[in-house]
Amino acid sequence: MPDSPTQVLLIEDNPGDADLVRLRLTESRRPVDVNCVNRLSDALAQIEAKPPSVVLLDLNLPDSHGTETFRKVLEKAPDLPVVILSGQEDEMLAMKAIHQGVQDYLVKGDMTSRNLERSMRYAVERQALLRSLEISRKQQLEFKNQFLSHVSHELRTPLTCIHQYASLLVDGISGPISPEQRDHLQVILRSVNQLHAMIRDLLEATRAESGKLRIEPRCLALVELVRQAIAMIRPLALDKRISVELESSDHIPLLYADPDRVLEVLINLLDNAVKFTPPEGRVTVKLNMQETDPEFAYVSVADNGRGISPEALPLIFERLYQDPDSVDGNRNGLGLGLYIAKELVNLHGGRIWVASQPGVGTTFTFNLPVYSLAKLLFPVITHQERLRNAIVLVRVHLKPLARPVRGNWKEVCRESLELLRRCVFVDKDLVLPAIATNGPEDTFYVVASTDMGHVNIMITRIIEQIGALASLKAIGTVTANARPVPIPTDGSDKSLNQQVEQVARGVTDLVVADLTSTSSFNQKEKTDVN
């Protein structure tokens, strides 16, 4: 069977060099079709329109030079075999190119018809091999995911059975039991819960590995979330008489992050801190901003536990890593918690790291992106190079009629937010994204450039329009109220940017105070039950 001609895309701006390459190619024993372009932009368009079998690439073109040239080609077509044809020997550059995925690096002067042909042929073969390896790697990963998802489902059924029957016994539903029997059953139930948590971590880690971990960012008040996490970990800490303190600098801005995922990270770090701190110890959560990095808020969880050895420190975020020193009869789980925490923080665009001193304690720190309120507020609250005279924060609160929520509450909240955006002036008011709250209620905020007198018209409009939503009517209510935002009066010595930032801080404080007043009410409810 005759070979179909190899489609060669020659990217070369020097006509003499191009002719030389053509000559070498026509001398070869295999049929080739050569298409020559002299600009990188034309080449990229060609690759898109009709991908060739192989690319022969000169690095210095009218519109691109050096490493940039092959980087752009590989970026456009990572699966395309690329052979660099260079004017001179440059071992460093050649290695760099190969490491980034180029198949070969030939010097034009040394090029014979035979070695050019061979280089091209091998480049095509190697690239095909790489591709099939990559495909099979992906298939294996996918298989592993499906396998784990299947296994964890199958494991959960008998686990649920153990849980159900042990709790029937413990609750006395199957008849009276002795205190000792109750203790033993509690051990069974605790172990079942541990096993359940492990299965969940296993699935999360697999998702992280295959890039299927998802986050849904919202506007959130970090302090609130940290308080929630501390409240959740407190019973565990109390058992060991460990104190858990929160230290927060004033004016932590609103963040743009997924509240459930951030809570997961916080719980994970707090759980570790409590686990590895001796009784009577101390765990401190600090929140602060750093002047050098105003786009991020920093959270650290510090304990005065036994610390981590310098050898273990670099491995701590690895999958399945467990501190060998901690094998003292304590069950540690799978060693996936910090790996998952790292993946979640990275998904937010943040970083997580650890500092530790054996015998003194350990501090985990991570950062999360700030919701850039000041930037978004600027056009809304300034007018002719000055702050507007009056600014009002409007709070729109959606509350389900009953708990649990009936119908598709989340969809109703999304619809309401859409409608809210149409109830305000596009150029004068700013609608913040949904705010993270505890429970099913949803709260939206509008920063309106008006005064308290005029804002009532807006509030009436909001309540009328959202309240008239058929989907909301059946299952929930809407309320709206407003508060004036403090406007700095000592504006003369500050730049407009600084004044806007001050207003943004004022808005954040109002939002945080609002959220705190509602959720502290929730927390009270919880403690009463215990």
Binding site: R156, T157, C161, S167, L168, D171, I173, G407, E411
Partner: protein, 144 residues
């Protein structure tokens, strides 16, 4: 410690709950738990008989597994939603399946709540009572 939760509002003592699960032992455990909390129970082991039983028994609430023979949980949810006489019944999904892939889908398909197995019994009972309360507020008849 007791699982009894004090009832506020109407008395649900005789509310009837349909348990749909293909695992007989899990069905039994749930039945014992609910009966200890003074609920009446009926149970089905597949999607087809779940719908038939819902029509015949008119339960006040349904606890539904997703992985079922003869019409999975989503099919059951759909059939319930389509029926004028059954769509008002609150459905609590209780499944071993992964919430990431199934929670929103269940709620979108008309479920009132989603629990992954093993669920916390107290939480489940609280949601059962709350669902019955809101269902009765919506005019679904409870046995008097």
């Amino acid at each position: 410690m007791s699982t009894e939760i004090k009832d506020e509002g109407p008395n649900f003592d005789r509310a009837k709950i349909l348990i749909v699960d293909d695992d007989p032992e899990l069905r039994m455990a749930l039945k014992l738990r609910l009966r200890a909390n003074h609920f009446e129970t009926v149970s089905a082991s597949d999607g087809y008989s779940a719908i038939a039983l819902a029509q015949k028994e008119r339960p006040n609430l349904i606890i539904l597994d997703l992985g079922l023979p003869a019409g999975n949980g989503f099919t059951v949810l759909k059939r319930l939603q389509e029926s004028d006489s059954l769509s008002h019944i609150p459905v609590i999904v209780l499944t071993a399946r992964d919430p990431q892939a199934n929670e929103l889908r269940s709620l979108d398909s008309g479920a009132t709540a989603f629990f992954q197995k093993p669920a916390d019994n107290n939480e489940l009972l609280q949601v059962i009572r709350a669902s019955l309360r809101s269902a009765s507020a919506w005019g679904a008849a409870l046995p008097s």
